[in-house]
Symmetry: D2
Subunit: 305 residues, 4 copies
Amino acid sequence: MGRKYAIIGVGHVGATIAFALVTKGDADELILIDKNEKKARAEQLDLKDATARLETRPKIKIQDYSELADTDILFVTAGNIHALDHASGNRWAEFEYTREIVKDIAPKIKESGFHGVLIDTMNPCDAISQYLQKEIDLPGSQVLGTGTFLDTARMQRVVAEQFDVDPKNVTGFVYGEHGESQFVAWSTVKVNGLDVIPLAEARNINLTELESQARSGGWAVHSGKGYTSYAIATCAVKLSRAVLDDAHLMCPCSSYNKKYDSYVGQPGIIGKNGVEELIDIPLPDEEEAKLANSAATIREKFATM
Amino acid sequence: MGRKYAIIGVGHVGATIAFALVTKGDADELILIDKNEKKARAEQLDLKDATARLETRPKIKIQDYSELADTDILFVTAGNIHALDHASGNRWAEFEYTREIVKDIAPKIKESGFHGVLIDTMNPCDAISQYLQKEIDLPGSQVLGTGTFLDTARMQRVVAEQFDVDPKNVTGFVYGEHGESQFVAWSTVKVNGLDVIPLAEARNINLTELESQARSGGWAVHSGKGYTSYAIATCAVKLSRAVLDDAHLMCPCSSYNKKYDSYVGQPGIIGKNGVEELIDIPLPDEEEAKLANSAATIREKFATM
Amino acid sequence: MGRKYAIIGVGHVGATIAFALVTKGDADELILIDKNEKKARAEQLDLKDATARLETRPKIKIQDYSELADTDILFVTAGNIHALDHASGNRWAEFEYTREIVKDIAPKIKESGFHGVLIDTMNPCDAISQYLQKEIDLPGSQVLGTGTFLDTARMQRVVAEQFDVDPKNVTGFVYGEHGESQFVAWSTVKVNGLDVIPLAEARNINLTELESQARSGGWAVHSGKGYTSYAIATCAVKLSRAVLDDAHLMCPCSSYNKKYDSYVGQPGIIGKNGVEELIDIPLPDEEEAKLANSAATIREKFATM
Amino acid sequence: MGRKYAIIGVGHVGATIAFALVTKGDADELILIDKNEKKARAEQLDLKDATARLETRPKIKIQDYSELADTDILFVTAGNIHALDHASGNRWAEFEYTREIVKDIAPKIKESGFHGVLIDTMNPCDAISQYLQKEIDLPGSQVLGTGTFLDTARMQRVVAEQFDVDPKNVTGFVYGEHGESQFVAWSTVKVNGLDVIPLAEARNINLTELESQARSGGWAVHSGKGYTSYAIATCAVKLSRAVLDDAHLMCPCSSYNKKYDSYVGQPGIIGKNGVEELIDIPLPDEEEAKLANSAATIREKFATM
């Protein structure tokens, strides 16, 4: 009955997801799990202290993997430290740290009987998502990474600021790794319904510079607050609603692409089974090559796992 | 046009208020100010990165006190470190630190021409609110502290858990200082419409123990996550909506009580002018004495400022 | 997965419930059933036409009773015509009409395998709820009528206007029939935490007059717009959220009271099983007598069904 | 302070707008005006009766044009009867009726000192919007009609159903009159980021048939429920938020196009001044001709006013 969410890892991202679900009244039931039990308990308590001032009263429980058996949506957000190699902006530097976490978590998820949709925000996002899918042995569609859903939002913000419009006026996608090898597929991008490439040319706007701003958006936030939380949590929650509503909403995110035998970011259709379908928008050769290259990067790094 | 909010201090509490306003679509315009400009910019960027995934697009600006001139609601949330004297649970320990912050902020608010309602979450909450009111020289009603609005929410949570009900089934108030001398006015508390005192007696429930849990609720959260954020932010946002709607909603909070010549927590009517009216619920002598004592504590500490 | 609602009867009340669920993003799945299939299809279409402008995309289906098998919440709102005996304000006048509707609906609900919580808004509310419970043979807790939840909201509005405060400052309950024999239990009513009876005396406020305004509130709306919809729909939706969250929220509503062997309005605790518990607030003899009388009225009318 | 809305005409559309604003907590203040004062009072009462069950308490007043002086958003929704020439689907048939209403309303709006943004939903939408702009003498940007914002939503729904996706996956626009001469600019339409024209060809989908379904969507709803309300109200509310947030959101709607010397539906940028800018997406000659023709239809009909 109702919407049941769980969050493994209640650091900044996980706790913000929890707060968003509670403050918007989205969740009916919410399970918080963290390797630091005191942290999980504190977040539970802080959220419960808010209940008297909220319209609704979601159930909030902690630390119980068995609750995953009938959970609709599981967010995996452990270890988003973004801290190890900040100078280079290299999310792979987190890998050594995060894969240990995941090796601990995955069997517990599998054992719980969880059969909902898993949304992963950990870094390196594509590799961790793939690892989780393999280890938990859920159908491929049911494990997805927020990946380029966030990078695309940043691209929309950067382009929108340039043109002084709502980011929602900007359509199109970032593809590839949620990391350095990602790229904006400018051939897909429109502003106010107009192709961005000629618009940018006409106005002497440097798209490569905008792409760079979008790619480094997370590090810009990180350098000022020490982590990122609001945009990534908002993206994760948005994906979860598309699953719960079986919305068939198109979102770029990280999922398994057979062509590259790898998780990688590209547009997909989000429904009750997770990524119901991948959308192959024909890309110019140059962009196709970038996508292949980015997928290869992920695949190679994954192989070292 | 629309709702214009500002937040001075975008630490955990201020940033969470900002996120709540943006994620719920409450704000049309939002000004973030922090002594650490990089932090303000990072929060602005993180919120803006979320815009492509949200239904609305509030304007978010930073660091400009002149924007306060036509701001409806100003949250002052700087320096909620809760860290100096954690062992003793003494919010006054923050005073030496926070009053310096306030001495810097207050003249800038005054100079901006701000004439909306100021909601203060800083600690010690009652004293800081009083200081802000005096220094900015706004009408007394227009400066209020979240104070016992949060403590009351915690009391509702603690009592509700005991009786396995929604905290919204628990009515009644915590009075006094947002600090150690606060108390639950048990004479005002009902659960499911029934007086809690006889209920507790019948079930051998120790109300003193519950009061202690409520009072130390903040420290329980703090000890697990290093700060408190979700409940306090939710309380602050709730007060702000009562102001914007001119709702005349009764909320316990910190405001000036002539009888005690001090800010102190008691129920008030929240409307467009802030605390429109104080509500004097007749209390038993013992509770009246506790309130007088708590107000005296605040007054004395304030005098040392 | 997610929240599944169904509505039988998409007249003004049912359609407004549907719109509220969709516009607030509460529903993940929504089934609309009406004896007028064209009306159901038109409401479905009108709601679907809104989807491109909403944040989410609930699934909306029509006319399929088999969908009730895994529905969480079923609203029964057929035949709220409020039209037959408007002059007398007599909801029993609708009975002859509505019981025929219910005799048609109940077996279909039973056959569907529905085992969620049924919320009835039809009139006469108490009798129809009781009939539905009996015919569908659901556990008693799982069938409830909005009953005095709406009447109490009207009482709160009427009292609040008198004191110029938010209706949420007014606590206390209307008891009895959702009809003429209902009464305000003034002994339970507080405004701003203060007993209303002495307050009213001190200000020469005629509580009998206020009670009369509350009781006739529905007719006042009806006479101007031909039906009532917004408050009743809001009440129904609020009850449904308390069920989905298993909130244990106290709400006055119509449910089975063994003492009177009848459905009748009194405060209850709303959770995942519907009315989890009745709350017996000790009432003065005069109010107890009114409640017994109101229950008797319902019981007698029900017997004629 | 806060968001102030007014609605002239509280028939099905106007009342639904009011309910949406109140139930979502969007409005801080709401003015309802109707030539039938009893209707306005009934809607006010029905909404106020809901307040005890809502999180917030917007102020709701009725029948006072002087309140428009500081109103942010004015919805004009009088006389949406959609009834005079249903068989032919001809909104112009309403013109004779609605222009009389508007002739009465316009001077009162002008006299009130209203200087916010006026959103018109009346039919024929383009002509009425133009008339209101001329008579009230507001800057052209500040008077807009919902026009093809709704038609575009219907096109998105129709195309989305064909491809089994969320209507939000469908981009592109309906242009022209909110009436028979409107057309889908298929050259602008994409599904899942892919041009719809080749997609439709590949799947033997008849776009002309889809266009016809979109155009007649309103009549389909009307024939089943006697009016349309939910989608149009949702569109109007969405436009209002873009104004309040100064979002610079691109929305197709009816506004003045100098090229055609007429109000007509095309994409525009919605901000605090209403339609801040028109977006000219290059259209194939055939579509340009349809737009010119549709504008001419409106202009000619307007001349007879």
